[in-house]
């Protein structure tokens, strides 16, 4: 498993996004990954396990680009673009590594992903992007995630030393929509859940849970990933409580490695950062939320 703060494997030359710890990042690969399992997990969520030869490891917050559907002996150009997916977890595998992805079936690409069968292959490029910055010494880590954003923060929670100090707040529309709850529970972190219909955990928005948690003792660093309105509200609450806030953005991407300039996130200081290269994690204060789609 990737450890936060591990020595750099392949330092990158790109400029560092403000406030985000770049760390050393594994050198990305391009590979045909074999599907070991692709299992529905309730609601529209699925768990994908891939066997990846030559996997270089990853850092919490990094993602991969996956072909939209199984590869065939024929290259099909519709749908065309690969889909970004957070690396949920990795495990050793006799032949490379096993990489796990938690994802939701939302559109054409993820529907084709969901129809992929064990034994079929997906083209994978990654790991890409930078790592989440680790919490500073003595800081409490407060992770707030909703929807598909839940997958992006799991490894962060898993990697922080002293998990009992890590608090994780997960939100979803319904209990069935909720991703990965059992995985977080198994980590031994302090876990709370909110669903909009109350079918699981508390009824309401996860941001309501956050208000309580921010009121707790000591300085907290808030990490968030999920729908834009949720992240924006989390950032506001954190700012009001005087806490640092790191957001992991889910912009649309064509390449994932910094050359198409498609994933631009508007910065409050003007100009844009590239989510795939400079993120996906950013200081919440660096983002011009009004101009983010």
């Amino acid at each position: 498993m990737a450890e936060v703060g591990k020595a750099p494997k392949a330092p990158r030359s790109e400029p560092q996004a403000s406030g985000v710890h770049p760390g050393g990042l594994p050198k990305p690969i391009r590979v045909d990954a074999e599907v070991i399992e692709n299992r529905p997990e309730g609601g529209a969520n699925l768990r994908l396990r891939l066997r990846v030869r030559g996997w270089p490891g990853f850092r919490p917050g990094q993602f991969v680009m996956l072909s939209p559907g199984a590869r065939t002996s024929v290259e099909r150009s519709d749908p065309l673009l690969p889909r970004p997916m957070a690396v949920f977890r990795e495990r050793p595998h006799p032949d490379g590594a096993e990489v796990e992805i938690l994802y939701k079936r939302v559109g054409r690409g993820t529907r084709l992903l969901a129809e992929t069968l064990p034994g079929q292959a997906l083209r994978m490029v990654g790991p890409l992007g930078r790592a989440f910055p680790a919490p500073a010494a003595g800081e409490r880590a407060l992770l707030v995630a909703g929807g598909t954003g839940i997958a992006s923060v799991y490894q962060l929670a898993a990697g922080i030393p002293g998990r009992e100090r890590v608090e994780v707040l997960l939100g979803a529309r319904t209990g069935a929509d909720l991703m990965g709850e059992a995985d977080f529970a198994a980590l031994g972190v302090a876990l709370r859940v909110a669903t909009e219909d109350g079918s699981r955990g508390e009824r309401g928005l996860v941001t309501a849970l956050l208000e309580g948690s921010l009121a707790g003792p000591g300085v907290a660093r808030v990490y968030t990933c999920g729908p834009k309105p949720m992240m924006e509200r989390v950032a506001q609450l954190a700012a009001a409580a005087g806490c640092a806030c790191v957001v992991s953005l889910e912009n649309h991407m064509a390449c994932g490695f910094g050359v198409c300039l498609g994933c631009a996130a508007p910065l409050s200081a003007g100009g844009y950062a590239l989510v795939c290269r400079d993120g996906p994690a950013f200081d919440a204060s660096a983002i011009a939320w009004g101009a983010l789609p």
């Binding site: 912009n251 050359v259 300039l261 631009a264």
Partner: protein, 311 residues
Amino acid sequence: MSDPLDTRVDLGGIALRNPVLTASGTFGYGSELAAFLDLRRIGGFVAKSLTLEPRAGNPPPRIAETPSGMLNAISLENVGVDAFIRDKLPALPEGVTVIASVFETEIERYAEVCKRLAGVPRVAGIEVNASCPHVKSGGIEFGQQPEVLAALVRATRRATALPLLVKLSPNVTDIAAMARVCEGEGASGISLINAVQGLEVDVETRRPVLSNGLGGLSGPAIRPIALRMVWQAARAVRIPICGIGGIASAEDAVKFLLCGATAVQVGTANYLNPAVAGEIADGIAAYAERHGYRRVADLRGALELPSRRSP
């Protein structure tokens, strides 16, 4: 076979190891993809288009997927010509053939960018991107009006002694006429096509998907259009042509060479497979050998026309 295959081609004075380049805007400034492809394996790369000053580009969303294609509205985002020369060029390994791409909103500014690139050691040639809205013509592209295109080529041709490729817009009635304008004004070669103007709409929000509304269509969807335009341009001029548009395999690339292109550029396909340009270069060589060619350059224009009637 006795002699090894000669893969070299001459693109209007730019000597290329093989006929495969990566297209402007699809391979960054050349070092982003070092983990996936050694640029010395391919003919060269065309850098992201440069303006006089650094530019920030359009707000997101900037990209949208379409059937076998994508739309982009990145606009002018780039580091600016000076930062390119200062920071980006030196980061590239020796032996990489670099073509600098230039775009601007006024002819004088195009010429000025070309001047700044003069004498820069690593730049093998300049590609003038004529698919940019011309401010003085109310947003019509430079490459859509013969007189404006002529003025642009004339001015940039005067501004530099480097090989000068002009990259044409496909959004025109008569691509052959545009190619002749470039040849007449002394361009060393022609690159085509740039992205085709398109629109995608989100029916739930009832808005265009791109913040800019319109965007440029690229990818395999446009390949038949690009191939047609390359063929038309190749019949209209004698200067070499660099074929672009939807190329994703060696077979695609060979089609452009057969239709009269001297070299090709790979664009959108890099996003799907960042090593694809190298695979295409190898595949072209394999095709040429399989078909008994000694020189890849001889594939140029080797299309046989139907006897009944010319296309």
